[in-house]
Assembly symmetry: C2
Homo-oligomer: 217 residues x 2
């Protein structure tokens, strides 16, 4: 069960005011992003790779080609650490020391589990719909060959932390009234106009799944 | 020296058309992003944490509080793997299998090096100016106390890979003319209107460093 910050290694000691223990915050960060950075240990050394992911209830799915080095590592069910980060603003203070960032981030610890062949189709559909809600109903089913070429692993949200940094600029008193500007510079990510793939697509209406991406949290 | 894709573990074997060996691409990805996912091995298990970074020539700097667990790990100069990823679009094909993402990503392997006390001020300024070009000249110098509270490590770009995925939708022939839309859905990140920290800041002009952030590549 998802329990943000509930274990020793997910507890924030130093800046505990940034920790969230709310499952709703955990879901919000996971459901508004698309790329996870997945770390594992290979030959005793760290490896971290960006991957698409999708949350379904209290797990996240990661998928890739059965031919990829990374998926061969993941299907051996290693310990992994996964980080998802949303940079929302720069905090520009009157000193470099007090400057920083606004962000929302999740770190998940656990062991990857290989999704069995029997459950692969269901998991792949769930992952696809987590990424582009409603898309699965708009396209044909996956073929046996496609499923065979795909590896999916799941990771439970049992051990995770959520960090939300939104604090105001907090300058030293001595830095005030020296003529230096300070403030928050927000980053805004939006969905641009969809670009049809070809003449056929240009003649078709943009589907609901794609239109609704603009409403993602 | 930066040499993208020049070693065994940075060579892309399977999807080699996505690999870039151009130093200009490496710099472009590093200079247009602000957050790196930094992975290391702790007690035999992977750990990955988002961190602000800045590139200066052929190294990146990472910094944090001397009180943080992560910086205590990094100042011991462990092997690290660092990934920086820019999601630029969703590739929405006529099947889930052929769908994917457009992205630009860098993965760096190496060993963190602790920046000595003598070089910390210079490194911190270089890091700050890499993140917000020109900001250092607009604020006061760091104090001795601030420098003492900060740990900076550097990582050379000697071993890295650059992956750029911008390929068009490539559907199976049998999926065409079935009435299914396909295309590219771009993500656009912009800088919002700066929000002054307080009354004093509201009365001052937004400085050049902040205004120029909108021109970042």
């Amino acid at each position: 069960m998802a329990n943000p910050g509930g274990t020793e290694r997910t507890k924030l000691n130093r800046i505990s005011y940034k920790a969230s223990h709310e499952v709703s915050d955990l879901y919000s960060v996971l459901d508004s992003n698309l790329v996870a950075h997945v770390a594992l240990v290979q030959d005793g050394k760290p490896l971290v790779i960006p991957m698409a992911y999708g949350r379904v209830d209290d797990i996240i799915y990661l998928h890739g080609s059965s031919g990829s080095r990374l998926m061969r590592l993941l299907q051996n069910e290693p310990d992994v650490c996964v980080s998802i980060t949303d940079l929302t603003a720069l905090k520009v203070a009157r000193s470099t020391f007090n400057s920083g960032m606004h962000y929302r981030s999740v770190v998940i610890f656990g062991r990857a589990s290989l999704v069995s062949d029997e459950k692969k189709d269901e998991a792949l559909n769930a992952l696809s719909d987590a990424m582009i809600p409603g898309r699965v109903a708009e396209v044909r089913a996956s073929t046996k060959k496609e499923l065979a070429a795909t590896v999916i692993v799941s990771l439970p949200l049992d051990e995770c932390s959520v960090k939300i940094s939104v604090n105001e600029v907090d300058d030293d008193e001595g830095d005030l009234n020296q003529g230096t500007w300070a403030g928050i510079v927000p980053f805004v990510t939006t969905i641009g106009e969809p670009i049809p793939a070809d003449d056929e697509a240009a003649g078709l209406e943009v589907p609901a799944s794609v239109r609704n991406l603009a409403k993602r949290p």
